[in-house]
Amino acid sequence: MSIVPWLLFALTVVLDVFGQTAFKLGLDRIGDDAGGKAFWRAVATSPWVLAGFLGYCVEAVSWMYVLGHAPLSIVGPMAALSYVGAVLTGRLFLGERPRARRWLGAGLVTLGAGLVGASLG
């Protein structure tokens, strides 16, 4: 595996975490009161949701390239690194307060992703 698929894999993970965080920021601003059509109208006009959606579009193309150049059993599990990113952005931007257990889980996911990457040999 050359360097380009790995770089695009990193881009895919970063865009995924950005999208998740942007969706949550957008939805938090819509609130629980909006239901039905009002909710979807608010979703469609939310700058955060639209930014996340654009990120998703780029991510989809990047991910397809990665899948075309790497085994699914390598990059599929390694995509769990998005969880680690979501814990970090939840802490940094969403006011979430992860406990020790969640940080430990994030550490294990990182370790496991390293093992899976190393298994390519």
């Binding site: 998740q20 965080t21 969706f23 949550k24 939805l27 938090d28 629980d32 909710f39 979703v43 949701v49 959606f53 998703y56 989809a60 193309v61 991910w63 397809m64 390239y65 990665v66 899948l67 075309g68 150049h69 085994p71 699914l72 059993s73 390598i74 599929g76 599990p77 995509a79 769990a80 998005s82 969880y83 979501a86 814990v87 939840g90 969403l94 006011g95 979430e96 307060r97 992860p98 406990r99 257990r101 969640r102 430990l104 889980g105 994030a106 550490g107 294990l108 996911v109 990182t110 370790l111 496991g112 992703a113 390293g114 093992l115 899976v116 990457g117 190393a118 298994s119 040999g121």
Partner: protein, 142 residues
């Protein structure tokens, strides 16, 4: 209050059933998306660049199917995120990695070695820890 919202409001058991049904549907759609994308990517020439990829993508039915599934997953995910904290909802998608790994072996005949299986097990353990930290998160101060 946060706990009640996490299972989809104050509706009790029907709301929980709807949440689980939505989650199963989400896992199915996400797995199908990965399989469609892998089929699409697997047809590419190894030396093809990003430009070729985009041109190829627009002309291939399985790619269009992949994007359609991707969009369905996106809408499903928005409805889930509407009621569940990101730090909690995201790890619940862990099952996608199990079903995707099974797809890699069954559909694409990829071979697993001991290191890879150990790595996936460690990832799964980490995700289980993440997912079980439900006490979480004081709500944002705003």
């Amino acid at each position: 209050m946060v706990e009640a919202r996490a299972i989809g409001g104050s509706g009790g058991r029907p709301a929980l059933a709807a949440a689980i049904g939505g989650w199963l549907l989400f896992i199915t759609v996400e797995t199908a998306t990965q399989v469609a994308f892998k089929y699409a990517g697997a047809t590419l020439d190894d030396r093809s660049g990003l430009g070729h990829l985009v041109a190829h993508a627009l002309a291939t039915p399985v790619v269009v199917l992949g994007f359609a599934l991707y969009f369905c997953g996106f809408l499903l995910w928005l409805t889930i995120l509407k009621t569940v904290d990101l730090g909690r909802a995201f790890p619940m998608t862990a099952m996608v990695y199990v079903t995707t790994l099974a797809s890699a072996v069954i559909l694409f005949h990829e071979r697993l070695n001991a290191t890879r299986i150990a790595g996936v097990a460690v990832i799964a353990l980490g995700v289980a820890l993440l997912a079980s930290d439900t006490g979480a998160a004081a709500p944002a101060e705003n």
